[in-house]
Amino acid sequence: MSQQVTRGAVDKSIDGTVKYLDDRLSTSGFIKRNIKKVFPDHWSFMLGEIALYSFIILLLSGVYLTFFYKPSLVEIVYDGSYLPLKGIKMSEAYASTLEISFDVRGGLLMRQVHHWGALLFVAAITVHLLRVFFTGAFRKPRELNWVIGVGLLVLAILEGFAGYSLPDDLLSGTGLRIASGIALAIPVVGTYVSFLVFGGEFPGLDFIPRLYTIHVLLVPGIMLALITAHLMMVWYQKHTQYPGPGRTNENVVGYPLMPVYMAKAGGFFFIVFGFLVLVSGLVTINPIWKYGPYMPDQVTAGSQPDWYIGWLDGGTRIMPNWEITVPGMFTLSPNILIPAVVVPGIMFTLLALYPWIEQWITGDKRIHHILERPRNNPNRTALGVMSLVFYGFLWISGGNDIIAQMLNLSINDMTRVIRVLIFITPPIAFIITKRICLSLQHKDRERLLHGDPTGRLLRLPNGEFIEVHEPLSDEVKAILLARTELPMLTPPAEVDANGVKTPNLWVKKLQHRLNRWWYVDQVPMPTAAELTAAKAHTLHELEDAQERGIEIAKDLPSPTKSH
């Protein structure tokens, strides 16, 4: 702060480094622009951070595991230190995983950090995606980053499944058997796909080494590139922020990178890492030694995939057994294709395209940096909840045998009920969510116009009872007023000024209709005139109360000072 009187060793090294780099790469301009970059503070912004940190931890622990793991299906006789499996024939892949778990000091810990890290990684991505969805953070100008995020989710699920399959234990081999069954179900080329992927018949000897390359090189490489792009976009576009006092669409309010965010984000990395190591020391995950080596004629009851595969497995479980056979010609298996290929395909496509779908309906081409409160976009929020309910039923079905056993239900009845509920409940969830959002909008409007009720009743000289309302604080007001309304689209003209028919009229008509449906229930924001009138009314009411000796509250902002 003060003038440089004495310059210590630290100062000299800082000056030297800055000068050295700047002379060669002119880095100082970039650092100057970014070292005080502001990031808004909110707990929900840490979800993406958790995903990022889990990825780094996965890279670190994964590299360690590659030093011991042998991606080979060559059969050997186990001679390690885990006695129950001694003398048993198994693949080198499984034996080396046993070696990591029982013969390498810290090996089991790293394996469990890797597995817990993968579970946390996909979970953090999912919750981060939900946060971005429900707050409208994907809106212009961030649509492209949304698509990258959806791509990362898909890759994370694939990567997780690939890693889960590598140990070649009974559970993971069963998962691969199912994957081969799905490949066989692909129309026309399925048999060829399966034979080429597995190097012949299932299980063959080629698949694990191939999957290994995909798991440790191909997919993580692509993910690393996408994550870099994801972060660069966040950096360049600057982070969104929640509405609040002083927060506008033109500014960003928060704490500077140097030193606060460096300390907070850096510290949070250690917290996530430390948490994963602690959990891995305390809670066993994927005890492959209990499952035994993979044998295509053996299986365990209650086979469960990792949580993020559950919804795919669940869909496959509750699907009716539709199969189309033309004897002598072909067999088509909708019972496999629909839950394993078609439904996930549609779900991820809709998810990736959602920003453009919403933009097309609303006609909203504005730039948004202020996050939307979920209630202020009832249709989006309701669509999100509806999708979650659908996903939830798929996910529950992935564990239907375990749930049925625990609750003492018939698994067949449970499956039949879910087959119905999965179609009936999402629309109901949509309606309920939308109504709740609209009610909350009503409440916000009420609060803006009348303030918050104080619970104090006042009897007027004419005998009328009124409840005294206190004005909203600036903070609350800033949040409630942050909602920006768009006018509805005008109906499309059948012909233009020259009498030429509008091309694709039905598309425009559909857009107009959807636009109407999107906005028609919206509770209007109070107009400026209404707000002014309401403020005068509240002030009057408060003065009235004061005259009668009723003190509203000492810590409230004085009504005369509020806006």
Partner: protein, 348 residues
């Protein structure tokens, strides 16, 4: 990156008209910054500093403990811990010490940031993303000119021949993929079973006789030639197809069969591989004769030709015709009459 054209950009990219409520948006400032204890009270600041330092030092202590436990605890020592139960002592100790060592650096750093680093909120203005109209148009122009200069638009023959060349170039990639594995021949329709092949138990390899079966008992079996095949081929491909389940029922229980005389005195055999996506089926309920696949709960009725009674599987389990040879051992009368395992396109 320059903000010089900011106003111009604003006019260009925000065409939507704002409703009048927007006008009413309060131009409220940031909430008043409240000083923390440590900002005003040197004792509180010193305490916070001490707390941070303790966390960092504790972290170092746990790192040392982690190193000690790495060397001191044998990897094959198991202990009983309340909560996790019997667990590897080395894993437990390393997890706790290393986890805390890392965790405490995190909490220390965050405590430091929250208590001692400046906590005034800072406002920065955002920049517009769109470049100025002139720049945009010059870029569009450059691309157009570049295209013209290259002749890509005007020289049709060059363009089309290039597109043709690029369009056929992926072909070698497809061809290379053809050697990822042998192309399917008849593998999905054949197994090691054939007339006269004896049934053996797994893994003891004992030949099965009708006397081994009491009514209701279920046994998992293989063809006798599987062991030899696996010693020769060193893979599990045959095992994934040949595995069968053998069960004995009384004639009254056995309602239908896939073929006349396919059972031997009520002893019947079905493929163990689910016709849905290929899991081995393992859960048998004696009373109902239902066989349940643990993967997706397809249920088959063994007393009724192995037909599907529930679940996503669409096909019955293929039945293996059984008989006995002259020495009284159970044998297959032929291979399966239909492909085992999941459906595939050519199955027809």
């Amino acid at each position: 990156m320059s903000n010089s054209n900011h106003d111009d950009i604003q006019n260009e990219v925000v065409p939507a008209t704002q409703s009048e409520t927007q006008v009413n948006l309060p131009k409220s400032e940031l909430p008043v910054h409240v000083l923390r204890r440590a900002d005003v009270d040197p004792i509180a600041a010193a305490r916070a500093e001490r707390q941070v330092a303790i966390m960092f030092l504790l972290s170092a202590v746990f790192t040392v403990l982690a190193v000690v436990s790495f060397f001191a605890i044998p990897v094959d020592l198991y202990i009983r811990v309340p909560g996790p139960g019997v667990t590897s002592a080395s894993n437990f100790a390393l997890g706790i010490t290393l986890g805390l060592a890392i965790f405490l650096i995190g909490t220390g750093a965050i405590h430091w940031a929250r208590k001692l680093m400046p906590d005034d909120e800072v406002v920065q203005s955002r920049h517009g993303y769109s470049s100025s109209r002139e720049i945009r148009e010059s870029v569009m122009q450059e691309i157009r000119i570049g295209g013209e200069e290259s002749g890509f638009t005007s020289r049709k023959i060059v363009r089309r021949s290039l597109l043709t060349a690029i369009a056929v170039l992926p072909l070698p990639a497809v061809i290379l993929a053809l050697d990822f594995g042998p192309l399917p021949q008849n593998e999905l329709r054949e197994t090691l079973w054939k007339k006269g092949v004896r049934l053996v138990t797994d893994p003891t390899g004992r030949y099965l006789r009708p006397e081994d079966f009491s009514v209701g008992s279920l046994v998992s079996a293989h063809p006798e030639n599987l062991k030899e095949w696996e010693e020769e081929n060193h893979n599990l491909n045959a095992r994934a197809k040949t595995s069968i389940l053998v069960v004995r029922m009384t004639p009254e229980q056995l309602r239908t069969s896939q073929g006349e005389g396919w059972d031997y005195q009520g002893i019947i055999a079905y493929s163990k591989i689910c016709t849905h996506v290929g899991c081995p089926i393992a859960l048998y309920e004696h009373r109902t004769h239902h066989l349940l696949c643990p993967c997706h709960q397809s249920t088959f009725d063994l007393a009724d030709s192995g037909n599907v009674v529930f679940g996503p599987a669409a096909r019955r389990l293929p039945q293996l015709p059984l008989g006995v040879d002259e020495e009284g051992y159970l044998v297959a009368l032929s291979d399966f009459q239909e492909p085992v395992g999941p459906s595939f396109w050519e199955r027809g």
